[in-house]
């Protein structure tokens, strides 16, 4: 069981359109996120750094982590929906995150390899990074990142 020190849920699973399909159907569902990797050591007391992930439903997940942990490992150890298709080797763009707190400028800038992969990321923004390349440090305490949607999102534009 990965450690989970705290979690703040700001948004419930309510949607403006209806109940989760899970409640309405007679067919059986699991909401199972399977097979996450990552075995992170908990931080030493007094040395915790805080990082918050906002998932694609807008739900916030806050974790206490230790210096040096990277965002991909943190997300996977905590069952967040983030893939690392290439195993964190900076060879794909599946662990794309968007930095939303004002820490972006305090980060080690993305190197060439990371930028090459960011070029392929869906929904690239000015503050996009690859989760596998961002390591937590004291400067990044309080970091907030957003996870882009992993699937094709159906927007009203699709219906035009």
């Amino acid at each position: 069981m990965p450690f989970r020190l705290s979690r703040t849920s700001s948004i419930t699973t309510e949607t403006p359109f209806g109940p989760s399909i899970l409640q309405r159907s007679r067919r059986r569902f699991s909401s199972t996120p399977i097979s996450r990797h990552g075995h992170l050591e908990p931080p030493k007391p007094g040395e915790e750094l805080t990082v918050t992930f906002i998932d694609k439903e807008g739900e916030k997940h806050e974790f206490k982590v230790k210096e040096g942990d990277n965002l991909l490992d943190i997300a996977q150890a905590n069952d967040l929906e983030m893939e690392g298709a290439c195993g964190g080797s900076c060879s794909c763009s599946t662990c794309h995150v968007i930095v939303v707190s004002d820490h972006y400028d305090q980060m080690e800038p993305a190197d060439e390899e990371e930028n090459d992969m960011l070029d392929l990321a869906f929904g690239l923004t000015e503050t996009s990074r690859l989760g596998c390349q961002v390591k937590m440090s004291k400067d990044l305490d309080g970091l907030v990142v957003q996870l882009p949607a992993m699937t094709r999102n159906l927007s009203p534009n699709d219906f035009k």
Partner: protein, 567 residues
């Protein structure tokens, strides 16, 4: 404890569609929610098979119960939120194809649907599709996705059925009775042709053949490309596959010995006389399909120079370009300052605005190519030449250009083909686009199933994912995203109790999938390969590789693979 529900994005869409439809056609009771058929295949309709009155969209509530389930996935956290279902039957899906699309669809389905069981059919004994037979041998990190696939395959609800080609060894119409759903993820096993004279000459190959050959695809083991015929290679097309071909041709063969490239390929490459590789596009550098990392790699091969490109393709201030084009431009315009063309033993170059017209035979050997003639192109008058969508037209003011080529590779895209028997189960393959017609989310569409003058509708139970759904483009990340979308709509449709397979025959009860088919298929002399057996092949391949200092030495033929199992 985790208590959040994985959402299915498509569901929001349905609600949106419902609103739109009810808005568009006021007064129509029970507006339809459901399959949206995008313009892509020329269909536009709402499927009658996804009928849900808006009133079913009642406000949400949080699930009350959580209980742990045991999946065999390593370190998984499975909670069911729905203990009180009345449908006790598992959801049984057949996925056709074990490439990234098949595996990512299986992963998502098994994660989201507790009762899902997946039978994955693969025509070869060995899994992973283009992750094994496409991805370049010098890009091993890309193959790390196989670790995830391995975890998926370890789930007790997953069955791998290798060495069984759907259409050849088992018919779709016989499968249909034993599954709730069939998901097509069989990729693209052919390639596009140029349709110009001389395409069948010796020394002219498709990139797909060449790639399959050096990666050990059994069907292409005997290709023996004529790399010793001369010094000039031309690759037609400017996508990443074209750059893979160029890089393999130019990389010092000793650097490849540490990869899982086949021994046969190493032998042929060691004898290669190719010194110059020209990668020719019909448009300009700002329209090329390759990505920056692959261009950069070609600039760093020892002893290989790059012929500088004309800066006239770029705006005066290249920094004004969008990020992706700008970064590729920087690499191209910088070139290889450390490897000057006149002193480097090998060279690569990019040629632009040339459309292939004919492959020409050699005067000495009319069965083998010696040059290619190209028709010059220019940007269309109305085209923005800095846009990646810029169109070109023939440039009639310039003469045709003929370039020497002792060997040529056509790298203008792969192509999917219809699976044998598709039409028997109501699917009309779109051979023009090379895709299974679908609603862009993954529901297979038929032009004849819809209501009234809205003609298209979802063929119940049938879905598709990956290259056969989108066409042959996109990296593994795009294929993953696409496969997740497909799995999400499958789960959503199952939840909304729309018809699946067998519904129309009134079939009831549990589908038995492969268990019901196995005996019949084996009686035809087919020898299915299970996941544990793949592990045996995998182990022997790795041992063979280790003996040579390679991660793996692939078996070149299906017979050799099976021999390991049956000896």
């Amino acid at each position: 404890m985790r208590l959040s529900i994985q959402s299915t994005p498509a569901r929001y869409s349905c609600a949106n569609l419902a609103r739109r439809l009810s808005h568009a056609r006021p007064g129509r009771p029970g507006a339809l929610i459901g399959a949206l058929i995008g313009g892509r295949n020329g269909f536009l309709s709402a499927s009658p098979l996804h009928k849900h009155p808006i009133s079913t969209l009642i406000p949400p509530r949080l699930p009350k119960t959580t209980s742990r389930t045991s999946l065999s996935f390593q370190q998984c956290h499975a909670y069911t939120t729905h203990p009180s279902t009345t449908n006790p039957n598992p959801f049984r899906a057949a996925i056709i194809g074990s490439g990234p699309a098949g595996f990512y669809t299986a992963y998502r389905l098994l994660s989201k649907l507790l009762t899902a069981h997946v039978d994955m059919y693969e025509q070869l004994p060995v899994p992973y599709g283009l992750a094994r037979f496409g991805v370049a041998p010098d890009h091993p990190e890309v193959k790390n996705c196989e670790n995830k696939f391995e975890e998926v395959a370890e789930d007790s609800r997953f069955t791998y059925i290798g060495n069984v080609a759907v259409g050849r060894d088992v018919e779709l119409k016989e499968m249909k009775a034993h599954y709730d759903s069939i998901i097509f993820a069989y990729g693209a096993s052919q390639d596009r042709k140029l349709g110009i004279p001389g395409e069948d000459l010796g020394g002219v190959y498709s990139a797909r053949e060449f790639v399959g050959w050096y990666n050990g695809l059994p069907q292409l083991a005997s290709l023996a490309p004529a790399l010793d015929a001369g010094e000039d290679a031309i690759v037609i097309g400017q996508g990443n596959v074209a750059l893979d071909v160029a890089r393999i041709l130019l990389t010092p063969v000793d650097a490849l010995r540490k990869t899982d490239i086949t021994e046969a390929a190493l032998e042929t490459l060691a004898k290669s006389r190719v010194k110059r590789v020209k990668v020719v596009g019909r448009r300009g550098p700002l329209q090329a399909a390759f990505t920056v990392k692959e261009v950069r790699e070609l600039m760093h091969i020892p002893g290989v120079s790059f012929t500088p490109i004309s800066s006239s393709f770029y705006p005066e201030n290249p920094k004004s370009l969008p990020r992706i084009q700008r970064r590729i431009g920087e690499v191209l315009l910088k070139g290889t300052p450390d490897a000057p063309p006149d002193t480097s033993p090998k060279n690569w170059s990019l040629s632009f605005l040339l459309s292939p017209k004919s492959f020409n035979p050699s005067p000495d050997n009319d069965k083998h190519i010696s040059s290619i003639t190209f028709a010059p192109q220019r940007f269309a008058d109305d085209a923005d030449r800095y846009s990646n969508a810029a169109r070109v037209v023939p440039n009639t003011e310039e003469q045709d250009m003929t370039l020497p080529a002792s060997v040529a590779f056509r790298s203008i895209g792969y192509k999917s083909a219809a699976l044998l028997g598709l039409s028997d189960i109501g699917v009309l393959f779109d051979s023009k686009l090379g895709v299974i017609p679908n609603d862009a989310y993954g529901r297979v569409m038929s032009p004849s199933l819809g209501p009234g003058n809205l003609s298209a509708g979802h063929v119940p139970g049938l879905y598709c994912a990956g290259w056969v759904k989108r066409g042959p483009t996109g990296v593994i990340a795009s294929t993953m995203k696409d496969a997740f979308t497909t799995a999400d709509v499958v789960v959503q449709d199952w939840a909304e109790e729309v018809p699946f397979l067998g519904h129309e025959e009134g079939a009831k009860g549990e589908r038995r999938g492969w268990d019901a088919l196995r005996e019949k298929v084996e009686s035809r002399g087919v020898r299915p390969v299970g996941w544990k057996e793949w592990h045996v092949i995998d182990k022997v391949e790795k041992e063979r590789g280790a003996a040579k200092g390679k991660p793996r030495e692939k078996f070149g033929t299906v017979e050799e693979m099976l021999e390991v199992l049956d000896r």
